[in-house]
Symmetry: C2
Subunit: 362 residues, 2 copies
């Protein structure tokens, strides 16, 4: 078979070399005689996998020892729930930049117990724009300031972040490890791993350790970020296979790609191919995000001038082996998710398809 061109928004395409290695390890990990999914999470083999993954995270982002790294089952949504319990006192206050659905989920977690101040919202512009960072102003005395770096549904992306006095928490689910970022500016970054890092089933958290001291007593260990960090993600049985695949993807990022600067260069090239195609289509295609500085390099959302043709395009693309192109059910339209692991070749072939489709229907 030929693997199709996978543009799903997550769970998403993984590097073929990683998939092949995981296939082997599923039957036997290394030479240990059992499969990776059948192994104690307290075995020396799994210890090495987990330690290796954490070390790779730290190397790739150049994370200082002031930060802890943990895997949390339940994805970014569970981290949002835990953050509200851990870091915002009853009746306290956190501040948010509302850039869409996932930002609103984080807001919702805080709003049930405290004041969730929205400093800026893109709601009135259908989340197709981002604020200028210099226009944002945050208070120093809030529990945290929260942003969503990449907005999977709306197709916008912050590549830089404002200076904040309060700890800055960023949900990086959909652009984690896609370009270099200075981690020292954050209180926490976190993300579900099912877009850029592995299969679904975990979030990865990078958190400034001193913040863990703010967590109140009396919470379940399962809802205490301090426990995840201090117990190295194995207070309870971790999502071991998921962490293993993440370790392979991190290894691929370091060795095959050569780190986040190279990854960024490749991601810019891939996104550029698509946005250039739209911009050159004489209005046949239109990026839903007008301002090039706000456009996501991960989720390229677009519409056709002739909207009824969108269903035709999806059907023909699917038949031609380009799948996962339907926009999120809440907004419609089209979306090509081109995360780290999406090969440049898939994007090139898709652009050819788009150009042919425009010629045929334009």
């Amino acid at each position: 078979m030929a693997r199709k061109h996978n543009f799903y928004a997550g769970p998403a395409v993984l590097p073929v070399s990683v998939v092949k290695k995981a296939q082997e390890s599923l039957f036997e990990y290394g030479t240990c005689g059992i499969g990776i999914a059948e192994m104690s999470h307290r075995s020396k083999e799994f210890d090495a996998i987990l330690e290796g993954a954490v070390a790779a995270v730290k190397r790739l982002y150049n994370v200082s020892d002031d930060y802890g790294v943990a895997f949390v089952q339940g994805g970014a949504s569970m981290v949002m729930a835990i953050n509200a319990l851990n870091f915002v006192p009853e009746g306290g206050r956190a501040q948010f930049v509302d850039t869409g659905t996932w930002a609103r989920r984080a807001i919702g977690e805080v709003a049930r117990k405290a004041s969730a101040d929205v400093v800026w919202s893109g709601k009135d512009v259908a989340y197709a724009e981002l604020p200028e960072l210099s226009s944002l102003s945050f208070d120093a005395d809030v529990s945290f300031v929260h942003m969503t770096s990449n907005n999977t549904i709306a197709g916008t992306q912050f590549r830089e972040f404002p200076r904040t006095e309060a700890p800055l928490f960023v949900d990086m689910s959909s652009d984690f490890f896609s370009h270099p970022v200075d981690m020292n500016q954050f209180g926490m970054v976190y993300g579900g791993i099912q877009k850029n890092l592995g299969p679904a089933g975990s979030a990865l958290v990078i958190v400034r350790k001193d913040l863990l001291e703010r967590i109140p007593q009396g919470l379940s260990e399962m809802l205490d970020m301090g426990v995840y960090v201090k117990k190295n993600s194995i207070y309870n049985t971790p999502a071991a296979f998921t962490i293993y695949m993440t370790s392979l993807v991190l290894d691929w990022l370091e060795k095959d790609i050569g780190g986040l600067e190279n990854m960024d260069r490749i991601n810019k090239e891939k996104a550029g191919l698509l946005y250039d195609c739209f911009d050159a289509s004489g209005g046949f295609y239109r990026a839903t995000v007008k301002n090039p500085a706000h456009r996501s390099l991960m989720n390229v959302t677009f519409r056709l001038a002739q909207e009824p043709l969108e269903a035709t395009l999806i059907a023909e693309a699917t038949a031609a082996g380009f799948i996962g192109l339907k926009g999120h059910r809440s907004v419609g339209g089209l979306r090509a998710s081109i995360y780290n692991s999406c090969p440049t070749e898939s994007v090139r072939e898709f652009v050819t398809f788009l150009n042919d489709f425009a010629k045929k229907n334009g």
Copy 2:
């Protein structure tokens, strides 16, 4: 290579046929052109997997429509945390049978907010005994009564359960789907899936739907069992690969094994081989659980009369391809975990090894 005989307590051995099918699907699921770990959890393919798994759960245990089925990331530990938040009011009361480490984890979750009454505890007998069911008495007005059906560390197992007026919640992590049980007697059964059902990364919950109405308002959706059930486990991105492997194991249970009665017969045979070996060893081996009615068919815990020989046995067994035999770090000794997927042949060969070892060292 030859796969080793895997006696790990969990994550644990999986059926070889399941592992092989998962290997294939990791590269391409069916003929859909992408791997199972790279697929949207809202695709029609994953829908069918999830629905199929839930239907198989219901068929295998003959679950009535009064019950809902859900997958919850974070394993049994997260379910314990959620149960305390969902079903026990602040200052309320639940009752427990304390049969060891995992029972105590469930107790701890309730104890931080309410009265966690221990009706019986095996602490004074190092958890090597169980109470007679007829001796247990529970109150009708508690939020729930909680038991742990199989105690992985102590090697004990309840195969039957007391009648309770309050809803009976049972943690079945380590003997889930190992023998037929009448589900109608329970308010909830739950278990981490990494022993009898799949790789680590989820719990499976079977809960009486009317109990979900007792869940208080104002909780995070991620901590509300009602949301997991009503949203069919996909309020947030589920642990898709883990659920897929579970669906394969359930299929294996139904089609290859032929259901829970057959599974039970096989499990009794496997455990019998080991306990008979100990009982016939003239005291060289000793099951840590004296009463045959209390002995686990899943985790066979044992000691040597000559305790210093235990390390030798583990080393020689490991060299001979029998792995995962070390007792839990909290109790020492030896443990052969022989869950559903552990082949009878592995147990037979291990018994031969044990008999040879006894002959050599007796």
